[in-house]
């Protein structure tokens, strides 16, 4: 009887659900205009002071009762992969463990329920959090000043480049010094940030070994160069070993060195960017210091500045005075370049990042970097005989880059391979980035994986690789079969954009 049942293919179900795999309709299909999950009493009659601007029609937004709301979002949540549920080896994204202690601390009433504009005498503890975070980040980077307010990495890039542009203007070179050097392997945000500020881009060719060579930069440096933007370790997972030389070259020629700190997690507590001649570097608190990614934000990207850029830092400025801390909320009387966001930055993320650093200590931060690098290299040596590396067999930092040369002739693409990983219960690595590697697969295991987890991950990739090379092409094209959805038509989505429900036709 059991044998017979084993052979039975699962038939389609009436609901479309399969056990714990549940379909969930759109809010707009299940909500009702008069349903609500919040009990609010109608106020007693009063004379409104809306100056005739009262809304004539009701707000046509569907509501749900509290139990329906819980069910809707719990069911949606179950269609997501998460770091809590499994290894999330997205290179360049740093999906490490998010300690729940940090969530608890950020929710302390003394942090979560204070207003950015209540008197500063009533928020001295919050300002101390900012001061301590600043101390930690400046010590770890050996830099001079910290701009806390950038809301994310790209916002930090804007902030750093604004400081650079202001410093150049202060020297009277605004009209002539307009070029920013960016390597081919850079994050797309680097050229985008520079272009938005009116800089002209010049691309630094990548070396055959995946790093930027001082000799390649030298001919590009001149009196027109405002800055160079380098990611270090770079997006190929390699340390830019010419960094100090390149920094000196650019600085000697009157330019500034912007370091994209997205990969600071490889070297935090082990090396100090300030020692390499960095003038500005954003620090993604949501990467290195583990504030949760939250499905795509909120992030936080404070910018560490060198002594020569520090005077140009934006408002607000945190100042220690005799009777306590003060936030100076404008740039009056300074050379600061202005303001880049309302209020003071991502306080909720500052608390989480500080909790992370306090828990780790300097020793723990260094251990995290060492383990991240160790784990990436372990994955590298266990896969190198099967997969191909674009820049040869050499040690990497916190992430290991493969390309698709090893799949040549198999009919399986990087995308197919990634989708097959989904069926095995894994979130794929970063694919097709960086652009300098053909069919790139960038794996960042982080320090949060046990050796058993790494071993199973490696064994799975080896098994998939063997199947790909043995001609199991069709299965790869069909993948994923076991996710909440099969492959989605992204071309259709872009060609005929449907960006919202149309009422009644949702």
């Amino acid at each position: 009887m059991l044998d017979q049942l084993k052979k039975t293919e699962a038939p389609a179900t009436f609901t479309g659900n399969r056990g714990l795999e549940l379909e969930e309709p759109l809010l707009f299909d299940i909500g009702r205009d008069d349903a609500t999950g919040v009990d609010i009493d109608e106020p007693a009659p009063f004379a409104s002071r809306l100056g005739g601007l009262e809304r004539k029609e009701p707000v046509a937004l569907p509501g749900l009762s509290e139990p329906e709301t819980m069910r809707h979002y719990v069911r949606l949540s179950r269609k997501n992969y998460s770091i809590d549920g499994g290894i999330y080896p997205l290179g360049s994204c740093t999906m490490k463990h998010n300690p729940r202690l940090n969530e608890k601390m950020a929710r302390l009433e003394g942090f979560a329920d204070i207003h950015p504009l209540q008197p500063q005498s009533t928020v001295q503890g919050a300002l101390e959090v900012m001061e301590q975070l600043t101390h930690w980040l400046l010590t770890l980077t050996n830099m001079h000043a910290l701009a806390l307010s950038p809301k994310a990495g790209a916002h930090g890039e804007s902030c750093g480049l604004m400081a650079i542009k202001s410093a150049i203007a202060a020297r009277g070179e605004a009209a002539t010094r307009k070029t920013v050097l960016v390597p081919q392997s850079a994050h797309g945000t680097n050229p985008a940030s520079a272009a938005l500020l009116g800089f002209e881009l010049r691309t630094i060719p990548a070396g055959a070994d995946g790093i930027v060579h001082a000799e390649a930069v030298e001919p590009l440096v001149g009196p027109d160069v405002a800055a160079i933007m380098l990611t270090n370790p770079n997006t190929c997972g390699l340390f830019e070993r010419d960094i100090a030389k390149i920094a000196k070259m650019v600085r000697d020629a009157g330019g500034y060195f912007y370091c994209d700190g997205a990969n600071f997690n490889a070297i935090a507590g082990v090396a100090r960017p300030g020692d390499f001649g960095v003038d500005a570097m954003h620090i993604n608190l949501h990467k290195t210091f583990s504030t949760p990614h939250g499905g795509g934000g909120p992030g936080a990207g404070p910018v560490a500045l060198s002594a020569r850029l520090a005077p140009f830092a934006p408002a607000p400025l945190l100042i220690r005075e005799r009777d306590g801390l003060r936030l100076k909320e404008d740039v009056e009387g300074t050379q600061g370049f202005g303001r880049i966001t309302a209020f003071h930055g991502q306080m909720g993320m500052f608390v989480r990042a500080l909790a992370y650093m306090l828990a780790h200590g300097a020793d723990g931060v260094a251990q995290a970097s060492r383990d991240a690098v160790l784990s990436a290299n372990y994955v590298r040596v266990k896969l190198r005989d099967m997969m191909s590396a674009p820049f040869g067999d050499r040690p990497c930092m916190h992430e290991v880059l493969f390309d698709d040369a090893w799949l040549n002739g198999s009919g399986v693409t990087t995308l197919d391979f990634a989708k097959a990983m989904i069926d095995e219960g894994y979130h794929p690595m970063t694919i097709y980035f960086p652009l300098v590697a053909h069919g790139a697969m960038l794996i960042e295991p982080t320090e949060s994986e046990s050796k058993a987890s790494l071993d199973l991950f490696i064994a799975t990739l080896r098994n998939l690789g063997e199947r790909a090379l043995q001609g199991d092409e069709a299965a790869f094209h069909a993948a994923p079969l076991h996710a909440p959805r099969r492959r989605l038509d992204e071309t259709l989505a872009a060609r005929k954009p449907v960006l919202r429900c149309t009422q009644g036709a949702a």
Binding site: V59, T69, H344
Partner: protein, 444 residues
């Protein structure tokens, strides 16, 4: 260290597999070698971290411990317990940007629903998946108008939040664009229409404005359109949209604002969530992440991030913006709270806010030495007091009352030292109002 699963035995086994005797060999490329002995403390246990941070938190005066009337761009509203519970689900909290849509449908579907909610709330056709906050969204809206209209000059109302003005001015100055920002406009008396001409790409107007006044945007929208410019409508109090004619219905071309009021705590200023909506025709010039509906290979409906050809990771220096995250979890909190409220609940919440503000205004009208300057308002208004408002606020804070925001804090040296912004939400009780009025009388 409790967050690190590798044991020393694991580490040495892994080093052996890699073929290095010492981990330092993997850091050999670093100029100067490995740095040791940072002057920083050693790691702490969970108990010690809690003690450390609880001590700092205790030095602050949270809103719950004081009659609280502080607004000016961030508002204290009630957040239902289910909201904060749901956003802490592992699958929402610890997932990344939904780059692999087949295993990210949870995030993608709520973004699709969020976009719809924002579009309906603002009276616009489309909305994006959120910006960092209202102020950065406002600057992005200005840059978008420059791209759409192909002019590079913006006119900013004197009723716009001063921080929003500062952010827009900073971006414009450094990008080489023109900005005209009008003087602080306490009573909504400025004549914007007279300043609109063919050189402008956009006019940016906030309602309810920084001083609490409600603004009719219709004539301004018409004037903008006569001159080929866009009207950008800004709000900092999203709850107001439950009671007021939507900016879309008044002719706005881009609506941008702060969504913190719905679902998100004060958090000392961040993280918040920027709402951004516009007309369908401007879709391709819109900044930020977008989620769209599509189908999978079995023709089942699903969602993906789309139109990324506008974005930095594809377009690099030709991108519409350098933004590469949204404010995902805050957008989720907004969306859940909005779902709990529904249109009916939102309108009622907005009426309670307005009623409380009206009640407070009527009480303050009886106090000698203060004047409410607004003809119209939603849940915040400007009070003219005798003497220095900042000093008054400090005196009241010392007595345990958080009375509001002195205008001079955001507009120093503007001759507005006697103005105080007072906000009143559903969180305020009759007792709060009575305490404020009594303490004000005592302090004046």
């Amino acid at each position: 260290m409790r967050y690190h699963p590798l044991t020393n035995a694991d580490r040495s086994e892994m080093r052996r597999a890699i073929g290095v005797a010492d981990i330092a060999e993997l850091f050999a490329d670093m100029p100067g070698g490995v740095v040791e002995n940072f002057d920083l403390p050693r790691g702490k246990s969970e108990i010690e971290v809690e003690r450390h941070l609880e001590r700092l938190a205790a030095k602050n005066l949270p809103a719950s411990q004081a009659p609280f009337f502080v607004g000016a761009g961030a508002y204290r509203h009630h957040v239902p317990a289910s909201v904060d519970h749901l956003i802490q689900r592992s699958e929402f909290l610890t997932s990344y940007t939904p780059y692999q849509p087949e295993i990210s449908q949870g995030t993608l579907q709520y973004l699709f629903e969020f976009q719809t909610q924002v579009a309906l709330l603002t009276g616009m056709e489309i909305a994006n998946a959120s910006m960092y906050d209202g102020s950065t969204g406002c600057a992005e809206a200005m840059l978008m108008a420059h791209r759409v209209i192909k002019r590079r000059k913006a006119l900013l109302s004197g009723g716009l939040h001063p921080h929003y003005i500062d952010v827009a001015r900073t971006v414009a100055r450094l990008a080489g664009d023109d900005v005209v920002s009008l003087a602080p406009d306490v009573t909504a008396a400025e004549d914007l229409i007279a300043r609109i001409d063919d050189s402008l790409s956009c006019v940016i107007v906030q309602t309810p404005d920084f001083f609490g006044n409600l603004r009719d945007l219709r004539a301004i929208a018409e004037a903008c359109h006569r001159h080929g410019a866009l009207l950008i409508a800004v709000f900092t109090e999203a709850v107001s949209l439950g009671l007021l004619t939507s900016p879309g219905a008044m002719g706005a071309d881009i609506v941008v604002g702060e969504g913190q009021s719905i679902g998100n705590s004060l958090n000392f200023g961040g993280p918040y969530v920027g709402l951004f909506a516009t007309r369908q025709e401007f879709l391709r010039q819109m900044p930020g992440r977008l989620c769209g509906a599509t189908v999978d290979t079995e023709d089942r409906r699903g969602y993906v991030l789309t139109l990324s050809t506008r974005e930095q990771h594809i377009r690099r220096d030709k991108a519409t913006s350098n933004i590469c995250t949204n404010s995902g979890l805050c957008a989720l909190a907004f969306s859940i709270h909005m779902t709990l409220l529904g249109g009916t609940g939102l309108s009622r919440l907005a009426r309670v806010n307005h009623a409380n503000a009206v009640a407070l205004k009527d009480m303050l009208a009886q106090v000698k030495g203060v004047d409410v300057l607004n003809n119209s308002f939603f849940n915040e208004f400007t009070l003219k007091v005798k003497g220095d408002a900042a000093a008054l606020v400090e005196r009241l804070a010392a007595r345990g009352v958080l009375a509001g925001v002195p205008v001079s804090r955001l507009l120093p040296n503007a001759g507005l030292d006697d103005l105080l912004l007072i906000a009143s939400t559903e969180m305020n009780t009759d007792e709060d109002r009575a305490t404020l009025v009594a303490e004000l009388k005592g302090a004046l």
